[in-house]
């Protein structure tokens, strides 16, 4: 097992344990809703976003235990977005992370409510943990960052633009617009929130923001490439689903070789942004390399 694999497994275990506590197996009520939430929230997943929160917090010398609720909130928001995006009214996906999607198992009504529950619970977690934070200004800044990244100028806006672009072949600028908002904003928020809670000053926050922007976009380009190339056993989704939906993707607009080239450039820029950081930023560097290698190595 590589150093990164061991690191990711360790962090994933912390995150999974914390997430499970927020939605207990045997809630007083209503069982079926909790079951639906747990199905999607605890059903695997690489936990890239929460790992980025913890890794960035550690990279700036912070105590990642304090960042854990923020990591969980971001993963809840990510999971809600997957559940809603998979709905028949949206992308109509039936497979996710190698399992049937939430609405296929629990029906559309509970899938909508599970997403709503996760989004709301994320902010409950933020409000609860911030109440005990010795530095309220930091906590507010992080909460605001997450809300804005998830909202109309971030993830939800990106998803709306994505849906509007389906069926037409959008220009490269529009594909980038969608990716930056739909996926990039929350990945960037994960990095910036980890840094904020870790106590980063402005001088550290700037290069970390650059790192977050680069891997945010690289991550989505890599995802597009995997969707176009990899069998569904690797992606956990139905094969070539983006192509079926005529989704706005980098490979569709600039071709696979150029998309891979762009991902590699973004990796270089991400690594360059971390040049001033010491060994504690190694997991961040490894994560960036891993994101791109998954899609671009033979």
């Amino acid at each position: 097992m590589s150093a990164l694999e061991a690191y990711m497994r360790r962090q994933r275990e912390r995150i999974d344990a914390a997430l499970a506590e927020y939605f207990p197996v045997d809630p007083p009520h209503p069982h079926r809703l909790f079951e639906a939430v747990r199905y999607s929230l605890l059903g695997g997943g690489k936990r890239i976003r929460p790992i980025l929160v913890l890794a960035t917090c550690e990279a700036v010398g912070g105590d990642s235990q304090r960042a854990l609720p923020y990591a969980c909130a971001i993963e809840m928001i990510h999971t809600y977005s997957l559940i809603h995006d998979d709905l028949p009214a949206m992308d109509d996906d039936t497979m996710r992370r190698g399992r049937r999607t939430n609405h296929v198992v629990f029906g559309d009504a509970l899938a909508i409510l599970s997403g709503d529950a996760l989004l709301t619970e994320a902010f409950t977690v933020l409000a609860q943990s911030a109440a005990s934070d010795p530095e309220p200004a930091r906590a507010w800044r992080a909460t605001r960052e997450i809300a804005e990244a998830a909202g109309v100028r971030g993830m939800v806006g990106g998803q709306a633009a994505d849906i509007a672009a389906q069926g037409v072949t959008p220009a490269l600028a529009m594909v980038e617009y969608i990716h930056v908002r739909k996926t990039g904003a929350m990945l960037l928020a994960a990095v910036r929130v980890g840094a904020t809670i870790g106590g980063a000053d402005e001088a550290s926050l700037r290069p970390l923001t650059r790192y977050g922007e680069c891997i945010g976009l690289a991550f989505q380009i890599a995802d597009d490439i995997l969707d176009a190339e990899a069998p569904s056993a690797v992606t956990g989704k139905a094969e070539g689903r983006d192509t079926q939906l005529h989704k706005a993707t980098f490979p569709a607009v600039i071709g696979l070789p150029a998309a891979k080239q762009r991902a590699r450039e973004l990796l270089e820029q991400a690594l360059a942004a971390l040049r001033g950081f010491d060994a504690r930023a190694e997991p961040l560097r490894d994560l960036a390399r891993w994101v791109v290698a998954r899609a671009c190595e033979p």
Copy 2:
């Protein structure tokens, strides 16, 4: 125009103006999402919840200008819940506030996203306004209160229980369970948040909580009665929609006369809870009377 009508109109104008600013007519992007959000958020509505926030803040001697963002956030959350509840996968309602529902006009995908956008924006507003709050502890408490009332143990949980109960004739205890969570929790939160931001102490918060619980339940019973009795011109919804859906309602379980009796009792209890408050609580008393009178007077 009665004193209450004048009061409600004045507060409604403040709230409507503030809400409109959060979703400008001409956003950079994506137009259609903002249009869908504005359609539901600014398409009328009695604004009971935000008025309760402002009225309670004023009743305890607070500056209701500081409570305005909280009032707006609560109305955004209420509007999101209506949009999602109306979806074909949920209650499949086509009329709301006398107009076609969001998904009928904009399609299911944008309706889901509009709801997601409103829920997220509510917390953006809370995080933004709290950041400038001179008393962060209060702001956190209010934000947490709203998040919990909207979540799995509140509104979303109530909606899940409501859907699970459709088609069966539930026991009175289950109807009350659903109402307390689905509608009551947010109405109670409106009262408690107004009190919190207004600077209420524990001694004031306790009776106001009692008031909020009583009018929360009375409001939903009144709504059930109106749905069963009033023509759709009054409710703005399709007539007898609850009955069609075999919804868990008070009239369905205990009959109309007993439901009206219960609403009147709750009004008495709400007024009794406010006994120790001075004239500044008059709008709260009038609101309670109005809620019950709408449904229970000949």
